[in-house]
């Protein structure tokens, strides 16, 4: 029912693609991260809250938003979206045709973060799952335990007069952090890329704690002892130096492994992820009771082999999702920036447009706005 083509996951009966990486006529989008939602397709179908994010990132286009569990028929194929728990608007795509059901997970996490909707386990015959953290060493602590660790760290920095700079993806992790930080009652400054998303999401009715956009004219003392959230691309940039003295804390599932904290030269690493951990993946896969599992982006070979040994028929599939993560560039943001250069022009135009409509002050240029990752 779904084929793996060089443009992406294709459903011939319904004549649509799911998260295509080349321009197509009709694209069903799981979520707004740039490796899943790419520009150039004619018509997009996605969750209602993903629509304004696509407008922001891809510019004007034909975006149709639906609610979760609200079926749409494409050439007689029943398509519905269901919470994936990854970021705001993120959805699993359920495709039903002639009694067969496939579910494409997109990216997902099984813990309810209180913001992205609770992951909805769906029964199906075929399940296409991600595997970003598909190794048993990835075993997350509860969100609350990680949050309290982050708050302790911020308090400690404040005591020594340092600003806490938290590195987090601008779409997803940054919004979760706002809720983590709210009980501290500190000022939260954010990078332009995060401010833009904040405006779009609050404009769409998502309730988020307030933020202050960092602007070039702000005096350095404003930040002292407070919190700054910045995307990975800002690490080591001139932009970030203005917060001296500061300590850097990176929020990413990769921080589970000490080597990654040291390689990034961070003062602290918090293993806060928007993906399922090993147990989460296994739990989600078992819940589908699928007869066949296709494993995409991440540790696909490892997870597929393990599933087969456990008696669950699985195969690995090569896609262009999460390529950055797998290539390690997830952890080294400059390269992500380079690869996104082509995309940047349109993104900035779009960001400018969004700012104009909401009356916000636009960031000063591409360099400053650059650099949110895509997981």
């Amino acid at each position: 029912m779904i084929e793996f083509t060089d443009k992406g996951l294709y459903c011939p009966a319904g004549d649509f693609y799911i998260d295509p990486w080349r321009p197509v006529a009709r694209a069903v989008i799981t979520h707004a991260h740039s490796d899943h939602a790419r520009a150039g397709s004619v018509a997009y179908l996605c969750h209602r809250l993903t629509v304004p994010l696509l407008s922001l990132r891809l510019g004007p286009g034909s975006y149709e938003g639906v609610e979760w569990n609200q079926p749409v028929f494409l050439n007689g194929v029943r398509v519905s979206l269901h919470p994936a728990g990854h970021i705001v608007g993120s959805s699993q795509v359920r495709v039903e045709h002639q009694g067969r059901v496939w579910v494409v997970s997109g990216d997902y996490k099984t813990e309810d973060d209180g913001l992205s909707g609770a992951f909805d386990p769906l029964r199906c015959q075929v399940f296409v799952t991600e595997s970003t953290f598909g190794l048993p060493v990835y075993h997350w602590k509860s969100q609350e335990a990680i949050f309290s660790g982050i708050r302790d760290w911020v308090r400690e920095n404040r005591e020594t007069g340092e600003t806490s700079v938290l590195i987090a993806y601008s779409l997803g992790k940054a919004q979760r952090l706002l809720r983590c930080l709210a009980p501290l009652g500190l000022k939260v400054f954010v990078h332009g890329a995060i401010a833009n998303i904040h405006e779009v999401l609050t404009g769409a009715g998502v309730v988020l704690p307030p933020v202050i956009r960092v602007t070039p004219d702000m005096p350095a003392k404003e930040f002292r002892g407070e919190v700054v959230i910045a995307p990975p691309g800002a690490e080591g940039s001139p932009w970030i130096r203005r917060f001296q003295p500061f300590a850097t804390g990176i929020c990413s599932g990769w921080m589970q492994v000490r080597g990654n904290v040291r390689r990034r030269n961070a003062d602290a690493g918090f293993a806060l992820s928007d993906h399922a951990d090993w147990q989460g993946l296994l739990q989600a896969i078992r819940a589908t009771a699928a007869e066949k599992v296709y494993v995409t982006h991440g540790f696909q070979a490892t997870l597929a082999r393990y599933l087969n040994e456990q008696g669950i028929a699985a195969a690995e599939v090569t896609t262009e999702y999460g390529e950055d993560e797998d290539a390690g560039t997830d952890k080294i943001a400059e390269v992500v920036l380079d690869e996104r250069d082509a995309e940047k022009g349109s993104a900035n135009v779009a960001a400018g447009a969004a700012d104009a409509t909401t009356g916000g002050n636009a960031p000063t240029g591409g360099r400053e706005d650059a650099g949110d990752g895509n997981n």
Partner: protein
Amino acid sequence: METIERSGTTDGQVPGQGGMRRFAELAVRLGTSTKTNDRLLLLERYFLAAADTDKVWVIALFSGRRPKRTVNTNLLWEWCRELTRLPAWLFGECYHTVGDLAETIALLLPDGAASDGRGESLSYYLEALADLAKADETSKKRFIQQCWMEMNNEERFVFNKLITGGFRIGVSQQTVVNALARATGADVAVVAHRISGDWDPGTVSYSDLVSGEGGGAELSRPYPFYLAYALEGDLSELGKPEEWQAEWKWDGIRGELIRRGEALFVWSRGEELMTGKFPEYQELRERLAPGTVLDGEIIGLGRRPAVTAGRTGAEAYGGSAGGDTAQPPFVVLPFAALQTRIGRKNVTKRHLDEVPVGFIAYDLLEYGGEDWRDRPLEERRRQLEAVIRSSEHPLLQLSPVLAFDDWNALAAIRISAREVGSEGLMLKRKSSPYQVGRKRGDWWKWKIDPLVIDAVMVYAQKGHGRRSNLYTDYTFAIRDGDQLLTFTKAYSGLTDKELAEVDAFVRRNSLEKFGPVRTVKPELVFEIAFEGIAASNRHKSGVALRFPRINRWRRDKTSAEIDTIDDLKKMLELYGK
């Protein structure tokens, strides 16, 4: 102290603080801290707060004194697999991603007891581990698995590190010394001297250690080494040439020769007592007066043929004030030769004949039982020359002082360094005292430019520690006719950004997979730099390189333009002796 206490108690957790937990937190925070000053502060607070018995162990661990390994690593792996029920291949995948066995096990173990464990001290665990030496496998397993299940993730990691050894967390001994000095109010040099040398953390008490009542160990105690920085900037910035003493920089092992009481000891720079490894040094016991400590190079020495035949060593030094000082009256063997000696448990007659190890002395730290380190180098040198001259032994040589009138002349001498088997020059201020640790200003090393060769990458493997999960360890090949011949591995030398690019290339261009190793399309060309070259029958290429590393990425070259085995052989002929 408060910060450490509090940081252990995240909201909602019980603030239990056993010694092991305190230590685990110290180790983990030291491991990720990015500033020397933070590390200093963490250690100082630890020394002010922890139990004395634990502090002694921390000083021992952080100054390279490892407890003996009493549990086999493979067993640890087995016992962890038994608890996790993971297939061996998956365990292997995890290990290759994490890059550290102790950490892999800590991450894989199922959640421990919800309680705060038994709150035992660091010394409790270390003593228990030492006792395991005599235990059978069943008791070892019971103890280790029980400890794991009582610990949190950080404690498990540190505990595993204690078992497997190799506790490297980026804290220099100097930082430990500084922190101890601050915590105890003692002088830095005094502390450094006290914690160096041969002492057993199992028997020494903290107060004995920091107040220096050490007993018999006193006799063998070395002085901390003074280490040079690499010369940066222009020579002329050093001031007048006549204020400086220049010597060859020898490529051996930095060592201290201690003659006290009835004994003679040899220490390496790693604070390791190596007396047993070099039995030939015992001959020097008769030739040196008690109360003499020499700083110098442990190095393989051959006899100088022809030119100096007929002259004794002493005569050769006699003219050191003038004449051809650039030619030392001895021949040094390449480092590779010395290496064949170091690794051996038993040194046989054959080893002694093939690689006689000598000592090239360049400083005098103690004379007549008196600490000479505060005297100016000039004065120490004069006395050193007298000491060596009167010793009259071919294995004890004086590092020649190189005569030069101006900086240009010195630069010219440096070019010929490789010909005498040295790796460059040392510059020492004649008026300087002998300091402690790595200090800027009075001692500089000025190494020769490395040898370089262009090669293509053929294998890649994921790195360890800081570089786990990235392909950062590469094997290189040169051209041998129309074949590629692997000849060296090389690490580092690339920026993080370049590493990420190469990593992405490896992932896209893997040809085959052998466990953790990938063969890759031979396409990326790198300039490999190395310090020396020697013939080797253990390497397919017939050569062994000294300290090979990636100098730069030759994006301008294709694999058709790399160097050949003939280029390498030429270098071997010229510099490989």
